[in-house]
């Protein structure tokens, strides 16, 4: 059967998200038939509609009605996002946007899972073929997945990241990969690697002579944001850590199938391990990164992760973590909208993490204040395929732009802090 998603059609430049056919193919990608691609196209457009057409209605309801009523009754503007929530949850515009956004997430899961489950056996077999005999996939039989990952089903995905329906399961990862285009409206690029590419570009800009020898990616998932690092630093040894076996099996096989002359994957090890405690010597790595990982951990774990990063990072090493913006200093309405995912998209640590002072945690782990930096990064995508939406499109919590926090060597920190 013809795979409709691989039909090569030049995308038409326009306001909407690109069609599903531009999504990058690789040896592990589930085959996506015509109607399945059309479901993702609907969801990508639905998400765009929610952020550009309905979300502004929520803001209008707040500005024109809810906030003035609050001010009239209380004599002061809402001072906390909980105040905003208390008045907005009764607003029809907020109810509409929320009900549709939650429904769209659930539809996205069903759409992705039905694609994957339809071809689960051949996908598992394909992963076996790609992974067989490779020492670079290291899973542990008796691995204990931390409760913050096993007890919750993130993004409304049944089973979450780590549960396995059958032996050698890869369904959770394949579902994540096949549908992330719909959730982000294509904002992360063909291979959902816009974050990794942004990290590579940031390194080139701020630390042009830096050539890491050992790279550690925490919470690697599909390894999608790691592959740009492998391409940029072909001589580096790379360790990609995750707690979820389905993600690692799929990510390892995906990377192998994407190997090209300019991107060798033999140097990447996909390791099942907990980022809170890793079995590597002190100062083993000179680059430690994570993309949208810290918010999937917990209050206790995040400090341990920073402590462990401090132990593992060499004195001349750099670390960087990408997340959505922190709440401190942010307008309370924007905080309220950004906090939607915590309760409504199964992200229990989302609220707490966005309230944390991450540089303070790093300093508690032993980094010097002058080593810590904060900056903003935007996804690097092929703009011929993924044209930037005209005007201001802000899909809070989903935008392919991040708050980045990290540490750099003391000697360099003064010189590069302005360039960051």
């Amino acid at each position: 059967m013809q795979n409709w998603a691989t039909v090569k059609t030049p995308p038409v430049l326009g306001a909407g998200p690109p069609g599903y056919h531009v999504v990058g193919r690789h040896g592990m990608m589930p085959s996506v038939q015509h109607d399945e691609a059309a479901r993702f196209n609907f969801l990508a457009n639905m998400n765009r509609f929610l952020s550009t057409q309905l979300l502004p209605c929520v803001k209008t309801a707040y500005d024109d009605r809810a906030k003035p009523a609050f001010v009239k009754a209380q004599g002061t503007a809402p001072a906390h996002r909980k105040d905003v929530k208390a008045i907005m949850q009764h607003e029809p515009a907020y109810q509409n946007w929320s009900a549709l956004r939650r429904g769209t997430m659930e539809l996205r899961q069903q759409s992705g899972r039905s694609v994957v489950l339809r071809q689960l056996d051949p996908l598992i077999e394909q992963a076996r073929v790609l992974n067989e005999g490779q020492s670079t996939l290291r899973l542990s039989d008796n691995f204990v997945v931390p409760r913050y990952i096993s007890a919750v089903e993130q993004h409304c995905a049944p089973g979450g990241y780590s549960s396995e329906l059958v032996a050698d399961d890869i369904a959770a990862a394949a579902n994540y990969d096949v549908g992330i285009f719909a959730t982000t409206g294509g904002g992360l690029g063909r291979y959902a690697d816009g974050g990794g590419k942004a990290v590579v570009q940031w390194l080139a800009r701020t630390h042009p002579s830096f050539k890491p020898k050992r790279i550690l990616d925490l919470g690697t998932g599909l390894g999608h944001n790691l592959l740009p690092l492998a391409e940029a630093f072909p001589d580096a040894q790379i360790i990609a850590v995750d707690v979820a076996a389905p993600m690692l099996r799929y990510g390892h096989a995906r990377a192998r199938s994407l190997q090209t002359e300019s991107m060798q994957v033999d140097g990447i090890t996909f390791l099942q391990a907990n980022a809170e405690a890793l079995d590597f010597p002190d100062q083993h790595f000179d680059f430690i990164m994570s993309c949208m990982f810290l918010h999937e951990t917990s209050f206790v774990a995040i400090q341990k992760i920073f402590n462990e990063s401090k132990r593992l990072l060499s004195g001349s090493g750099i670390s960087i973590h990408l997340e959505q913006p922190q709440y401190a200093g942010m307008d309370v309405y924007e905080q309220f909208i950004r906090d939607w995912d915590a309760h409504n998209n199964n992200e229990p640590f989302w609220t707490t993490m966005h309230e944390l002072d991450l540089p303070a945690l790093a300093q508690k782990a032993g980094f010097a204040p002058a080593q810590c930096f904060e900056t903003g990064l935007e996804a690097i995508v092929d703009e011929a395929l993924f044209p930037k939406a005209p005007g201001k499109v802000e899909d809070y919590g989903r935008k392919a732009a991040w708050y980045a926090f990290g540490t750099q060597p003391l000697a360099e920190s003064a010189a590069s802090s302005t360039a960051a």
């Binding site: 015509h34 109607d35 009900a99 549709l100 199964n346």
Partner: protein, 123 residues
């Protein structure tokens, strides 16, 4: 291998994620209906995309031009047939509305048709 039946796969695809589901409307019933409407909107978008593909393939293969779809004019007999189809379609889609109107009338008149199951059970 996976030993999952088609029925199991269908159920797993539609499975609810762990945790309490948030509801946003005062009426959960209304929100359930909205979710059904969203799924239908998705399926309608899929159908439209499929028809669009069909038209483009027919044109690419030289069977007919896409403009022929837009400029197609039915004759009177076909129009009448389509009108009949539309009426049947509307009766199916809006059945609950027409039934509500019927029962409202029955309720007001209080005639036999309005008897409830409970009432009938006691007769």
């Amino acid at each position: 291998m996976s030993k999952l039946s088609l029925e199991e796969k269908r159920a797993l695809a539609a499975k609810k994620s762990k945790g309490k589901r948030p509801w946003f409307y005062d009426s959960a019933e209304a929100e359930r209906v909205l979710n059904v409407a969203m799924a239908l909107a998705q399926e309608l978008a899929v159908t439209r995309e499929r028809i669009d593909t069909l038209e483009r393939l027919l044109e690419a293969k030289g069977v007919l031009a896409r403009s022929e779809f837009d400029h197609y004019l039915p004759n009177s007999a076909i129009s009448a047939e389509r009108s009949q189809t539309q009426e049947d379609y509307l009766a199916r889609v809006f059945r609950i509305m027409t039934q509500s109107a019927e029962s409202a009338g029955e309720g007001a008149a209080g005639h036999e048709g309005a008897a409830s199951i409970d009432e009938l059970a006691r007769t």
